[in-house]
Symmetry: C2
Subunit: 103 residues, 2 copies
């Protein structure tokens, strides 16, 4: 669903990825990480879609909140498995959301 | 595919949307707009995925480039049809990409 974020400025982490073949525990971990991230300080919401290319965007109050989530112990384990097993290619972009509007 | 963007800073337009039922000319227009946008000054790349929620992220050199594309005559017609016909709900976020890394 479309994330209900507060008025800007806030931050977005755009994670664009191509998976390897097979599940290999990915879906279970993705669900776990989504639940875990949503409980972190400064978390504002998440959006994702996949049809070949996967895009996950998480929204955060500050760069500090993003840094803390990146350094979370369980998340570090998931990141290592992402590199070793689940992702053929990914790109992460850290962004400041300056304006938004909706319909 | 994952967009090949230059080193930051650059800008991203995150367009998250929920479609109405039926195609109603959407796919043809989406292809036309993707082609047209890619020829605009300051265009850097595009990424999209949909599985229920649709996410399209276009990347640009500057806010000026984003403003010019938003005001493009053919794009304005597509935006009007988006509001009247294709989208049940959308949110657009204008972001400055401050850092990125890839694997």
């Amino acid at each position: 669903m479309i994330a209900k974020t507060p008025p800007p400025p806030y931050y977005a982490v755009i994670f664009t990825n191509l998976r390897t073949e097979g599940d290999n525990g990915y879906e279970a971990m993705a669900g776990k990480m989504e639940e875990l991230s949503s409980g972190q300080p400064g978390y504002l919401g998440i959006e994702h879609a996949r049809d070949g290319l996967g895009i996950t965007i998480s929204y955060w109050e500050s760069l500090e909140a993003i840094k803390n989530w990146k350094a979370n112990t369980e998340h570090l384990e998931a990141q290592a498995l992402g590199r070793s097993t689940w992702y053929a290619h990914f790109k992460t972009r850290i962004c400041k959301v300056e304006r938004d509007y909706e319909f």
